[in-house]
Symmetry: C4
């Protein structure tokens, strides 16, 4: 991957981070987040200019080095070429409201969207669901629209609160992270936990409800930073294996 | 793909369109419409002679340049070789009754056929279902037969009305489009929306019912012509990737 | 595939038929019948000596030219090497009782076995289910044992009657055919119809029940001999594509 | 695979056994047990020093020759490099309490974990479930925590009793075997039986309940040692085919 574009010259670390964000996009595709060219991760510009957002008309699996535009928090394009996703306000408003995080993801992951299209609360039925132990995943139900307007994005921000993810009813999900590792893992675990819950409830079996206090202790035990690094490295190896085998680009069935 | 057959000489644009229709067939296979050698798309002849229909005994994934016959609206073969699908009246009658469209698709897409074999109404539970915001998908229940007779085809036409798709109970689906892009996307979204609804309802969760007026506004926002082009291009890239990887022909498991 | 074994010399047509039976085994694997090295098709010896049965310890996907033994109707091995499947009585008794058929298949196809482990009757909810229009598929419930004893096999024969297939409760399925094409298609359609019915009923939707008389007419229309040939050829092409891509042998995930 | 590490020199048979254990890990991955780098098999050291445990930060599909550490029953690392899985007490306590077995497996196999997160009892609805005919699979519900503490491991031991497997509610499963073949097959059949039961019950069909006495007879018939060898060899061939096709390492989707 080469960076011919001069925009990265002012800060080499941005290019390096965007490389990781690109892998994050491609990992999300492999873990069930793909829906044509829908879905995107954004990254808060470290120089305070706004956010780097994946450009449009690319599948998650197609995102590589240069595929970003820099926009300010009002959506003005400052650098980069290509289409600006019309849901940019979702990213801008969350980044503005949440100084604790630097990355925002949005997708239509199948099972998380299924769960989001219902009244069901995501629960820690397995390890993946425990990722959300300290902040249950709320649901935004004010509209089924995609989030293209600032006032809608502000509504989502309010529902999201301090959580790591929010279900967008009849639409998809949004999720955040302080690091690219965190935003990717949050997206991955959200979809895995939703799939588990859908399968568990579809079976008709009576679920066992874990204790909330224990669930937090469980989070502390299974998701310390070194474990998160381990999982992030795993998904990177998996991506590399996949791309070596099938070549880069859109995931084949 | 070479066109040795003289029938295309009179109008080069037909060959070009049929190339796109072939990709439409192969895209439908990748998106879950395959059922052995069942399923076909037809194209209204621009010279008013009738319709170009995929010839028989080929899987959707096997359709390429020359695999069409030209028939008039009474089913007489005017050009081309190979088997005439016995469901030709379904195509002929829809094309006669609907001057607004130029393409008709028919398949046994799994989830759409599951939904069609029930009393359930397809609903806009996610973005894919929103494709049908302006015209709910009706169900044809007069028979479980395949549509090989003109009088049956006329019944389907009546149920279809001005809609983009119709569920054929205990059989499959039919869908239409003004362009090859539109007929393909309609088929794809019909199957995706049905799969989503089956998974949502199988979970036992209480679904959230989107507002019908909002659903139309949502359609306007997410499916303008440029977005449709974007999705059509995505599915073409996906097809190319797949065929580069596995070679052309029947899709491997 | 070479036939070094002298046993085929007396009748070259047997080797040719067994080649087709081997493709039948491998097609069944691709269509969801695989369960480790379980499952087998038998072929009535045209010289009246008994039956040719796939030998043991091979997956359906591994069966090729020489992988058969000839046994008489009492299970004595007349020709060939390798393990005799202990369920040989199932094949012998069905072939003895049903002079109208020459091939017997047995497998643990997932969805057909799921349906067989319940009180549910297989129904013609889609085209695949229509294959059984003239003879509903009965269920053998006298035991959950595999059929290794002649008296159990005779019980299965009684339940099977003149049908094309029988569900073996908590075990698997058996299916028959006059030709290798027919036995293979019967196995394939049994599994596809069962999968359809499982998905339809799991959805919780109210199914539409097709009319039994119409279902027979539908069978006549969609499954004439030339259509069966067409489907058999399709599955052979699919198998070839798959084996070209992945190589022969056990199916990869 | 080369063994440069001197630790194997004192007993060549250990290296040979660990080779088989590595295949066991990779087979479990192919059969649905993979969850990032979670899951591990341990092997009782034949010299009485403790147990050989897969080292951390590797997926089941990545485990090869050297990827083990030798720990004593108090968790002290005696040989080998790499991370010690924090769930080592689960292995140590089971091996201490069960002199009849030499191998312990632990994973988050999807369907077995779904069933484990409910009140449902695993039942012998198909052949795979019959593997557990003589010892129903109990459920450990004292905690949803992973088993990192000796006192928790002792609780699991008590629930496990003389069984071959135990469901760990809201977490995963553990399973044992006298041989590497047995521990692997137990893991495989546990997941397959759970998937079958989930699909059967999700369908809403009324299940047929096999007779417990007959189920034991069925076990004797279908799972004698030579059949177990046959299945173990099958999974080894399948693994080889898969790795020839895709290369070793993390399983591609």
């Amino acid at each position: 991957m080469s960076f011919l574009n001069t925009r990265y010259h002012e800060d080499g670390s941005i290019a390096a981070t965007l490389e990781a964000v690109s892998r994050g996009h491609r990992i999300l595709e492999l873990e069930g987040h793909g829906d044509m060219t829908m879905g995107h991760i954004s990254y808060r510009d470290p120089w305070g200019r706004g956010l780097w957002l994946k450009r449009g008309n690319l599948a998650l699996s197609e995102v590589a080095g240069d595929d970003y535009i820099l926009i300010d928090f009002d959506g003005n394009v400052l650098e980069g070429t290509g289409l600006r996703h019309i849901e940019w306000p979702l990213h801008a408003e969350i980044l503005k409201a949440r100084p604790d995080i630097n990355f925002v993801g949005h997708s239509h992951a199948h099972y998380a969207t299924v769960l989001g299209a219902s009244e069901e609360q995501l629960k820690p039925y397995n390890n993946h669901g425990v990722w959300f132990a300290y902040s249950p995943v709320p649901r935004y139900t004010a509209t089924s629209h995609i989030i293209t307007e600032v006032h809608r994005a502000k509504e989502v921000v309010e529902v999201l609160g301090g959580s790591q993810a929010v279900l967008l009813a009849n639409h998809g999900v949004a999720f955040v992270g302080e690091t690219v590792e965190e935003v990717t893992l949050t997206g991955v675990f959200l979809e895995k936990a939703a799939e588990f819950q859908v399968d568990l409830r579809a079976s008709g079996f009576s679920p066992i409800e874990p204790d909330p206090v224990e669930t937090k202790e469980k989070f502390d035990r299974i998701y310390p930073p070194k474990a998160q690094d381990n999982f992030w490295m795993f998904f990177n190896r998996k991506l590399e294996r996949y791309e070596e085998f099938q070549g880069p680009g859109i995931a084949t069935p």
